[in-house]
């Protein structure tokens, strides 16, 4: 390959995380000369999916504390393996049988990403699978044997009808609440929402919807997926999220509200997006980052002059990347670090059982889901709960007969393992499923980035994905803003392409 030295580009994109890759996709038919680099030697950046050996390397690299990993969103990475196995016991498959997602996300059926995937003609290269059921695991009660209880979250009228744990009054009250949530942003309910929004969800349920039973709160929290404790979760937070869930059910098929991309989640979308840009003429180079901006603007041709980590000098009309991929000389230094209390503790566990009871069919004759969501209480209602995304081997992330558990928590990292163990215990399987392999790490929240303002404004900073587990619409909106800046304000047809000739059409 020719050297990059002294090459000139319309757009240089740094980092192949999801936002940057989506931008590359959006520009793939623009005819612009695009150089897309990533300082890692793999695609996906912070959203990468890793084989086992790659995960081990990644953990080594991100093992230190935050200060040692200043240019990364991750730190404190560790791995633990289960003790030596007996003969014939379950064991790990080979490294490439796994595709572990660093940042697994739920993609709601209503998400703006999915129509964009279709209109940009990349949907035929992606497989989306259902995330079917949601569950709660309640901590063992004092005085009772330590069985955690696994309960399915009712997601609609028929679920509520069938749920034996709800008495008649609770059914009525829960339905009343769900009906309110379904239309919370309509004129008829706006006034009510204004009155209720500051209240904790649990309080509003009791006082305004007649839902006295504490056991009914957990399932609703599970649908909202807050990072804070029960008492800190307000109606303002919970209602729109529960509404999003309810409004997404049935969009792609009965009985489920969200999907996950097969073969490694968002990393797969990033890869497909980059591939599309490459087909459109984009040049891809891994193992390179932006070291420095040599001169912010050259008076003559108003281009940016940049030095890559390999020493090459390149020029570009536009530079786009997430803050951590842009050198400090370009992006404004972050005035204040994000609050470390906002950091999320994460773990990835490979489990020795298919956990089949977490994946019932979504409806009569419906699809078998590949994902499930479990909300695990660990230390009572004044402590945040652990969110666990469970992916079966159908997701392509692990071999058959195993599952991957992605746990996240804002709080004490030791609770992650407790939650995983509680979940496995509550399955009631004999023998109890084992964790074969586990990695833990911390994900740092990003401080709100002020939109970059260099003298010419030809550097655009994309917001990195949040530390959450739901893909928000903001991500694509941010990408669109960058696209519009680069293409000019009058540009139309964001992510809308005709199919290329010779490429198989879906319909």
């Amino acid at each position: 390959m020719d050297s990059l030295d002294n090459t000139s580009w319309d757009v240089i994109i740094t980092g192949t995380g999801l936002p940057q890759s989506l931008l590359a996709l959006s520009l793939s038919r623009s005819g612009k000369q695009i150089l897309h680099i990533d300082r890692n030697d793999y695609y996906g950046g912070d959203e990468a999916a890793l084989a086992l050996s790659e995960a081990e390397q990644w953990v080594k690299k991100h093992g230190g504390d935050a200060s040692e990993n200043a240019d990364s969103a991750y730190s404190h990475a560790t791995i633990s393996l289960s003790d030596a196995q007996e003969e014939g016991a379950k064991k790990l498959g080979f490294s490439r049988a796994y595709s572990l997602a660093l940042a697994p996300h739920l993609v709601y059926a209503r998400s703006n990403l999915l129509p964009a995937v279709v209109s940009s003609r990349t949907h035929s290269q992606l497989e989306f699978q259902a995330i079917g059921s949601w569950f709660t695991v309640t901590a063992p009660l004092d005085g009772l044997p330590s069985w955690s209880r696994l309960t399915r979250v009712p997601s609609g009228r028929e679920d509520v009808f069938r749920d034996d744990s709800l008495d008649l009054r609770s059914k009525r009250s829960l339905m009343k609440f769900l009906r309110f949530v379904a239309s919370y942003d309509e004129e008829s309910e706006q006034q009510r929402m204004v009155e209720l929004k500051g209240l904790p969800l649990s309080v509003a349920l009791k006082q305004h919807f007649g839902l006295k039973s504490a056991a009914a709160v957990g399932p609703l929290l599970a649908l909202a997926l807050p990072t804070v404790s029960e008492i800190e979760t307000t109606m303002e937070f919970a209602v729109p999220r529960i509404a999003r869930h309810l409004r997404s059910i049935g969009m792609f098929g009965p009985g489920f509200s969200a999907v996950l991309p097969k073969w490694g989640g968002l990393a797969e979308i990033a890869q497909v997006a980059c591939r599309a840009c490459a087909v459109g003429g984009g040049v891809y180079v891994l193992g390179q980052g932006i070291k420095n901006a040599i001169r912010a603007e050259d008076a003559e041709d108003s281009k940016l002059r940049l030095e890559l980590t390999g020493g090459e000098e390149v020029t570009a009309r536009w530079l786009v990347g997430c803050p951590r991929d842009l050198p400090a000389t370009i992006s404004k230094p972050i005035p204040n670090q994000a609050d470390p209390a906002e950091d999320i503790m994460k773990s990835i566990s490979i489990v020795s059982s298919p956990l089949t009871s977490l994946f019932p069919p979504t409806a009569e004759g419906g699809v078998i889901p590949a994902g499930a969501v479990v909300w695990v209480e660990v230390a009572g209602s004044s402590s945040p709960s652990v969110r666990i995304l469970v992916h079966s081997s159908e997701s392509g992330e692990c071999p058959a007969g195993q599952c991957v558990l992605y746990a996240s928590l804002r709080g004490d990292p030791s609770y992650l393992d407790t939650a995983v163990q509680n979940l496995l215990e509550s399955m009631g399987e004999q023998p109890k499923p084992e964790v074969l392999w586990q990695m833990q790490y911390q994900h740092h929240a990003e401080a709100e980035q002020p939109q970059n303002t260099t003298s010419s404004g030809h550097v655009f900073t994309l917001q990195p994905l949040s530390t959450g587990i739901v893909l928000e619409d903001d991500v694509l909106k941010d990408v669109e803003e960058a696209w519009r800046k680069i293409m000019g304000n009058g540009a139309e047809g964001f992510m809308k392409f005709e199919s290329r000739e010779g490429v198989d059409e879906d319909e």
Binding site: S119, L168, M175, V259, E364
Partner: protein, 387 residues
């Protein structure tokens, strides 16, 4: 992403301009098809009038029907042709080919009938994609029914019943796709009846024979209701099955009462979940109607069923429905139910502690407030009930 079992992302998410263009394309194709239709139709008319029941004519009907299955005249033509072919096969005195004879032998049928069976099966196959595309087209269901009827007429029971069982599978699948398709439910009843009739071997002992499907059909309605409460057809079918179910179980007085109580428990649970669903109220009304000896539409469930039982259940249900008001004060169906049952109660028992005219006037007032559009109806009700 055509693979089975994986959700399709495409259909609902195309942007508007694409959708508009596709719609236009469809309209153009349909118009062109219609034009062609007219030309072919004229040809077909001529052939049928001339009693040209040839294969070419048959193929012409297939062509036309694939484009427009609502054209019922063409279905009639098709049946004329098939009838002719069946008659010819059954009357045939020429020996069948060796192949045909062997196949017929294997199926346990004389060759002529086997031929008819094959033709019927072929036509049933032809219908499947049409049914999938037009699940609410009367004529497709009708033709299927005719084919099955013909099979029953000409073929021995064991062959026909196999076909009917396949129909049961098909209709279950169709109802799985659209649980509220009343064509499907009607057809299902027809299928069940046919299977029972053919399986009873005409011995009249239907109820206890192996052909009795009432238990499995009752379980089917339970399943359908659980997957979608708002299923008028499922609830209706359930109500149709109950009398036979109870007699098939040889239910005595106690069993019957337990059964009725269980049904009330089920519908009450559903009503608490969603009192705004009209189909649930219809079923509640049905259960209440079984208590009225005067009501010819609803066979009594209880045995005996006299004034005492009626009063007792009316009292209980009025109480139960009254409780449902809490938290659903804007639900007009609750007030309607209360008024109706109170009216009935006052015919059976004198006014007293259980329900007062004052209370009823209150309910009527609420009803008027919630549904002012039907003022005329409420005024009528007021007059009829003497409030």
């Amino acid at each position: 992403m055509q693979s089975h079992g994986i959700p399709r992302v495409a259909a609902t998410t195309l942007d508007k301009s694409e959708q508009a263009r596709n719609k236009e394309r469809k309209q153009i194709t349909q118009y062109q098809a219609l034009e062609k239709d007219v030309v072919d139709r004229a040809e077909l008319d001529a052939q049928v009038k001339a009693k040209d029941y040839s294969d070419a004519t048959f193929r012409l009907t297939s062509q036309l029907l694939t484009q427009n299955p609502e054209y019922y005249t063409i279905w009639n033509y098709r049946r004329l042709i098939l009838q002719h072919v069946f008659a010819r096969e059954l009357a045939a005195d020429e020996a069948p080919s060796e192949q045909d004879a062997a196949a017929a032998d294997k199926a346990g049928l004389p060759p002529a009938q086997h031929e008819v069976l094959l033709l019927i099966k072929e036509d049933l196959q032809f219908l499947i994609p049409l049914l999938k595309q037009y699940p609410k087209c009367y004529w497709i269901w009708n033709h299927r029914s005719w084919l099955l009827g013909t099979a029953t007429k000409h073929l021995p029971a064991h062959s026909a019943v196999t076909l009917w069982h396949a129909e049961l599978g098909l209709v279950s699948k169709m109802l799985g796709l659209d649980s509220r398709n009343f064509h499907g439910w009607g057809y299902r009843r027809e299928v069940v009846l046919a299977i029972e009739r053919l399986s009873s071997n005409g011995d009249g002992e239907k109820e206890s024979g192996s052909g009795n499907m009432v238990e499995s059909e009752f379980a089917y309605t339970t399943k359908m209701i659980q997957s979608n409460l708002s299923n008028f057809s499922a609830w209706h079918y359930r109500s149709q099955l109950i009398p036979r179910l109870l007699s098939s179980r040889n239910a005595d007085t106690k069993t019957r009462q337990e059964f009725l109580d269980a049904e009330f428990e089920l519908i009450t649970r559903a009503l608490y979940t969603d009192p705004y669903d009209q189909s649930l109220w219809f079923y509640h009304q049905y259960l209440m109607a079984t208590l009225s000896p005067a009501n010819k539409q609803a066979e009594p469930v209880l045995e005996p069923c006299g004034r005492a039982e009626q009063a007792r259940y009316l009292e209980r249900e009025i109480g139960s429905v009254r409780e449902m008001l809490e938290g659903a004060e804007d639900c007009k169906y609750i007030y309607q139910a209360l008024l109706e049952y109170s009216g009935r109660y006052l015919e059976v028992e004198a006014e007293g502690e259980k329900v007062t005219l004052e209370e009823m006037r209150g309910w009527l007032r609420e009803l008027r407030g919630i549904d002012p559009l039907r003022e005329g109806r409420w005024r009528d009700l007021e007059r009829k009930m003497g409030l």
